[in-house]
């Protein structure tokens, strides 16, 4: 039985945990405010807020309900537009009306819900932040400028928000209905829910599975949900290593102080991965195991020389370098039943720099044509160590080992780049597809390889990038 609070209503249902939350909301609960634009997580029309209790407080995140398994709502607070509506429009709704941010209206609820989520979570509200919260919402009518204005208007109103009594302030100012204040207590009482763990199909955030196998999943009653497994989404340091739980999401990474300290550009880099909603859902393990040759997190962590921990059904654990996980297109070097429980990578030292590059048809909320990450340690103008990865240029995510071997111990000079690049070209085998021609992908990887150096060592390379 799945048990959760939907808006102001506690629901208990025997519907399969693999059913999408969207179908449950729209067709079982007959709440038709939540819309369907794609059923693939790509438009945001179905966005809902999902609040999870951490200690006394609830942390709300926006998610696309079309690819959220019903089971991932267990024990949580799910908020749809019906749960935000009051007699008067909320300031978010009013701002959308006042700015002309709605035309056909089909996308509008998604925007309102995402922005309301921003109101619930923003610590330092800004217009950019509010816009960022709707980076997973697509509108075909307005051209967005009016919606940007609404976002700015809301950020302005939120600047007066009390940090201590957030929910209370939001209720007082009409952003939220009164019942929100009682939700934490109600969730605490809702302890009886259970999460299926022993099915054949393992689901993390569901953001890959529901896109690829939507129909099959609806017929799969036996699933294993790991998104909320205790300890599976912690990020901590163990000696000289950082250890991530398998169900860590991209948002967890972005919000982690440990990660932010190590990677000053983390936000900019991860912003290039999917959208706010999808980053709130997709897990690191899901990204690795899905084995897409253009997985961004995969490219990112390969360049960090990460190790993964695999656990067999019997509880036996073994470690493997992430770069060794991939055999061939969507084929892994794992044993049947093994799953991924942890990711570990060495903490880089002061001499080490890291960069991530990605180009796609659309800069944000798009899968890469080519992505690449690099970690270089250099001292006195010489490369001590380097790890370079690339995606979209072969059947699996690539660790460019020969290129790395070549560069190690070389002087860090502009002349090195074309030479290293020649080796890159011999290590990759892109094909032409909807994300670009083979020739484009090869040329693009060259450019992104150069871009790594322009970003990391502007003092050496700024005007010297071979053009």
């Amino acid at each position: 039985m799945v048990e959760f609070i939907l808006n102001d209503q506690t629901v208990r249902t025997r519907k399969p945990a693999s059913m999408t939350l969207l179908d449950f909301i729209r067709y079982e609960q007959h709440l038709s405010g939540t819309k369907i634009g794609c059923r693939e997580g790509d438009c945001g029309a179905c966005t809902v807020l999902i609040g999870k209790l951490n200690d006394e407080r609830i942390h709300y995140e926006s998610m696309t309900s079309c690819i959220t398994p019903l089971g991932n709502a267990a024990g949580k607070h799910v908020v749809t537009i019906e749960g935000l509506n009051m007699v008067e429009l909320t300031p978010v709704q009013q701002a959308m009306v006042d700015s002309g941010g709605t035309q056909c209206g089909f996308c509008t609820v998604g925007f309102v819900v995402s922005l309301s989520g921003y109101c619930l979570t923003a610590e330092h509200p800004t217009k950019e932040g509010a816009i960022s919260a709707i980076d997973g919402n697509i509108c075909r009518c307005t051209g967005y400028k009016s919606i940007e204005n609404a976002a700015g208007d809301i950020a302005g109103q939120l600047s007066k928000k009390s940090q201590k009594e957030q929910t209370g302030w939001l209720i007082k100012k009409g952003f939220l209905p009164e019942y929100f204040s009682g939700i934490p207590k109600r969730l605490q009482k809702l302890r009886s829910y259970e999460i299926p763990e022993n099915g054949q199909v393992m689901i993390g955030g569901g953001t890959d599975l529901y896109v690829q196998k939507h129909d099959e999943l609806l017929d799969t009653e036996e699933v294993s949900l790991v998104f909320d497994k205790p300890d599976w989404n912690s990020i901590h340091r163990e000696g000289s290593e950082i250890v991530l739980g398998a169900a860590t999401t991209a948002t967890d990474l972005m919000e982690s102080e440990i990660m932010q300290q190590i990677f000053p550009d983390l936000h900019r880099h991860l912003k290039l991965v999917s959208s706010t909603q999808i980053r709130n859902m997709g897990t690191v393990a899901g990204n690795f195991v899905n084995a897409s040759p253009i997985g961004d997190l995969t490219a990112f962590f390969i360049a960090l020389n990460s190790t993964i921990v695999l656990t067999s059904p019997g509880g036996h654990q073994r470690q493997m370098l992430l770069k060794d996980l991939y055999k061939d297109y969507k084929e892994l070097n794992t044993k049947p039943g093994e799953h991924l429980t942890q990711i570990r990578f060495p903490v880089p030292d002061d001499q080490t720099r890291f960069n991530f590059e990605k180009v796609s048809k659309r800069t944000y909320l798009d899968i890469a044509s080519v992505n690449t990450a690099i970690q270089i340690r250099s001292a006195k103008g010489k490369i001590d160590d380097v790890h370079l990865s690339a995606g979209g240029v072969g059947p699996t995510p690539k660790y460019l080992s020969r290129t790395c071997d070549f560069m190690r111990d070389q002087a860090l000079t502009p002349e090195l780049l074309p030479q290293a690049h020649e080796i890159i070209q011999s290590e990759i085998s892109p094909i032409s597809d909807v994300r670009g021609s083979a020739s484009y992908k090869r040329t693009l990887l060259r450019q992104l390889f150069y871009a790594h150096f322009a970003e990391l060592y502007p003092e050496i390379f700024e005007d010297e990038i071979p053009a």
Binding site: S32, G33, K35, G37, C38, R39, E40, D42, C43, I81, N85, L89, Q93, M96, V97, D98, G100, T102, Q103, C104, G105, F106, T108, V109, I131, C139, R140, T142, G143, Y144, K145, S146, E148, V211, D215, V359, K361, R362, T363, D366, P418, E422, Q425, S426, I428, V434, G436, S437, S439, Y440, R442, T443, L444, Q447, Y450, A451, A454, D463, I465, A467
Partner: protein
């Protein structure tokens, strides 16, 4: 006035097709479509699918009682394929079952085998093979052939623009149920209720009076629900007819993308001649329209490409020929601009080419050739109240073109790996359906005896704000508060024989009809009031819900007069018919006066290209637009910004990708990208040109739906400008969209990593660096 639907939208209370509460016993329908783009169906084995859990019945063309025909302009398209298939996604059968999921599982079990024939995807190839939808048409004026000799410069080239997926966020949908005596009611998401009614009747062998079509609103249309909404509604009606149960279909996005037609790709050749003062002396072009497998609206779209082949320029000697080419893509269809943008892209490309070759900024040529009052269009209409020059001048002056140019030049001198580009984009767009007979509409107005008002017209609300404008017209004309008035659903039983809501003309046509009906009612009420007050009706008006006698408020309010009229058995209902005056067109001569008026404007677009990565961001777009006397500036600005961004999407990232087998590779939102919030220009400024508006526009507020899309054309030329700043030697190609891929390859032309043999994969040949 704000969009009257906005409160419903922000609270999720507005109803769309999929939100209509389902009736008990509702079944669900799912089309089975052809996996191949061209061939003969050898096997269609439905046995396993029919036995699949929850399946009620599967329909094929054999179940059609009337005609298996849905072609609107030309009868060349079956509802369900018989033995030949002509595009991937062509409907072959319709599965009906207890749930959508059951239907989808059953569809996997359909065995369909096709003897494939080579498909045609290229319109030029179709033309060579004589595959034309209609005979080619030529529009001309002057004598281009003998004009070339007098030109200082003559250039020839080619321009291609790809298609565009509508990507209305609400997919196609329909819900129909049986009414008494075999009649059928269809609720659907269409821009053309009458087309659905007519086609359903034809396919079912009914009279149109047996079918009622009702439209609440659309979650976006953009032309994609003009003719392309019809097949789904008719299929579902077919199922209702046989099963006598309610049947519903809300399409999945990938089905919708695969099965429906889009904006037409065009492939064109041009020749342009200029004199030494940069005046365009002559222009010739041959347009190849990729119509897809059936006519749909292609002949009408083709016609508009011809009308707008000159964009905003006066060209004394012109000859443009257009071919509508039959290929094996889904039947391409209406899309905001309706062929106009495709025709304009060619002349803009020709001008850009000439400018680069001559070595002058493109906008110098544009400016030299803007239309003026009294100029004759190549189709015979005389430019009147022409705003091309005022809009251009206003843009140049108020947005300081000189400063912008200076900014670009400074920036480009300063940075090596980033370059800015600038483009001016004037637009001229004719308002009216080019098929004269379609320019009519009707309105039905009821004043209820409590003083509230119900309005029905043929206009469909799809986000463009037509209902808001209609409400304003009714409120203003009757002299009452908008809150008293409700705009009803669009329904074929209340307003019949309607033209689709399209061609930007919805508000003009329906608004004028509504205005007429309201004037009649008001006159009648004024007579009642005059009677009551014992004065002459001539001096009576209604303002702010109060009767005025010779301009002075009387002790008589709206509700009282309405009540009085009701008690005196005076009719409180009225209908009116409006047909646009003046317009006509002679297809033999290809001359006439097809448009009620033209809309003008000018945009300035600025882009920054990252020349290391081959990506770009638009810094700003500044627009001067001729709205006339805008009824609703907020609605109009929304149309301008939305149209602009849609046009920019078409020119930049939206890349339709059919493989050589005619299969759509860009078949989902993950592979077909429309602008997101980060890909729109950082700033968009819109200024309305101060004009009087046009008397044929509703309350002089000019139509605004389509014209702004064409500002987006400038995106292509701004990027090209920046690319040329980085690599002045790159080949001048006019091949939209200008994707990141094309940008990078143009920046590094000659230095790209070439792949000799794709299969070998790793063999490469890099010229340098």
């Amino acid at each position: 006035m704000k969009n009257i639907d906005s409160k419903g939208h922000v609270t999720g209370k507005s109803l769309y097709l999929d939100d209509i509460p389902v009736r008990q016993g509702t079944l669900y329908a799912l089309p089975v479509d052809s996996p191949a783009a061209h061939g003969r169906i050898r096997v269609l084995d439905l046995t396993k699918a029919e036995q699949s859990e929850g399946i009620v019945r599967i329909f094929t063309h054999r179940d059609i009682p009337g005609e298996n025909q849905i072609g609107g302009i030309i009868p060349d398209e079956p509802l369900l394929a018989e033995d030949e298939v002509h595009f991937q996604g062509q409907p072959v059968a319709l599965i009906v079952g207890e749930s959508e999921h059951a239907c989808r599982r059953a569809r996997e079990k359909v065995r369909i085998e096709i003897d494939e024939k080579p498909p045609i995807t290229d319109p030029r190839e179709a033309r060579e093979k004589g595959e034309l939808i209609v005979p080619p048409r030529t529009f001309q004026n002057g004598d281009s052939e003998s004009a070339w000799d007098s030109c200082e410069y003559v250039f020839e080239g080619r321009a291609d623009s790809n298609g565009q997926e509508h990507l209305y966020i609400e997919t196609q949908g329909v819900y129909a149920w049986p009414a008494e005596n075999g009649n059928i009611k269809i609720a659907t998401s269409t821009q053309g209720p009458t087309a659905v009614q007519r086609t359903a009747a034809q396919v079912l062998g009914f009279g149109m009076h047996n079918v009622e079509v009702d439209v609440i609103r659309l979650g976006g249309g953009f032309g994609g629900k003009e003719d392309q909404a019809t097949p789904w509604a008719v299929m579902v009606a077919l199922a209702v007819h046989h099963l006598q149960k309610p049947v519903k279909m809300a399409m999945h996005r990938m089905d919708d993308m695969r099965m429906t037609g889009k904006r037409h790709p065009y492939s064109s050749d041009y020749k342009i001649g200029l004199d030494k003062n940069l005046k365009i002396v002559a222009y010739e072009a041959t347009l190849h329209q990729n119509a897809g497998a059936a006519a749909d609206l292609s002949p009408a779209v083709l016609e508009r490409s011809l009308f707008h082949a000159n964009n905003s320029y006066f060209i004394p000697n012109m000859k443009v020929t257009a071919y509508s080419c039959r290929t094996n893509l889904p039947p391409n269809t209406a899309f905001r601009g309706f062929g106009g943008p495709q025709g304009m892209f060619v002349i803009e490309s020709a001008i850009a080419y000439a400018a680069y070759e001559i070595g002058v900024p493109k906008h110098r040529i544009q400016e030299q050739n803007l239309l003026k009052d009294g100029d004759e269009f190549h189709y015979g209409q005389i430019a009147d109240q022409c705003q091309a020059v005022p809009a251009w001048t206003e843009a140049v002056e108020s947005f300081r073109l000189n400063d912008l140019q200076e900014e670009v030049e400074c920036f480009n001198r300063k940075y090596k790996l980033r370059k800015k580009g600038l483009a001016m984009q004037p637009v001229c767009f004719g308002i009216s359906f080019t098929k004269t007979q379609m320019n009519n509409a009707r309105a039905l107005v009821h004043i209820y005896h409590d003083g509230t008002v119900g309005v029905s017209t043929g206009a469909v609300e799809m986000g463009q704000g037509v209902n808001t404008k209609l409400l304003q017209v009714a409120a203003y004309t009757l002299g009452i508060a908008p809150s008293r008035i409700r705009i009803d659903t669009t329904n074929t039983s209340r307003v019949a024989n309607t033209s689709p809501t399209a061609a930007s003309a919805g508000a003009d046509l329906n608004g004028k009809a509504l205005e007429k009906a309201c004037i009649k009612l008001k006159q009648r009420l004024c007579e009642v009031a005059a009677d009551q007050l014992g004065t002459d009706p001539k001096g009576i008006t209604i303002e702010n819900e109060r009767i005025q006698v010779n301009g002075t408020p009387a002790e008589l309010i709206w509700e009282q007069v309405v009540h009085e009229a009701f008690m005196n058995r005076v009719s409180l209902s009225e209908k009116a018919h409006y047909a646009t005056p003046v317009i006509h067109f002679d297809k033999e001569k290809e001359k006439g006066h097809p448009f009620a008026y033209h809309v003008y404007g000018t945009a300035i677009l600025m882009v920054t290209v990252d020349c290391l990565r081959g990506t770009y961001e638009f810094d700003s777009v500044k627009i001067v637009h001729d709205c006339g006397n805008s009824l609703s500036p907020m609605v109009d600005n929304g149309q301008i910004e939305g149209g602009l961004v849609q046009g920019m999407g078409w020119m930049t990232m939206e890349e339709l990708d059919y493989d050589e087998q005619g299969r759509l590779r860009s078949n989902a939102l993950s592979t077909y990208k429309i602008p997101d919030i980060y890909s729109v220009p950082k700033s968009v400024e819109v200024k309305h040109l101060e004009t009087d508006g046009h008397e044929l526009a509703i309350r002089k507020s000019k139509a605004v739906g389509e014209p702004p899309l064409m500002y987006g054309l400038g995106a292509y030329f701004a990027i090209l400008d920046a690319v040329r700043a980085f690599n002045p030697n790159t080949t001048l190609r006019f091949d939209a969209p200008f994707t990141h891929e094309k940008v990078l390859m143009a920046l590094y032309e000659g230095k790209e990593v070439e792949v000799k043999e794709e299969a070998a994969g790793s063999i490469l040949n890099e010229s340098s660096g």
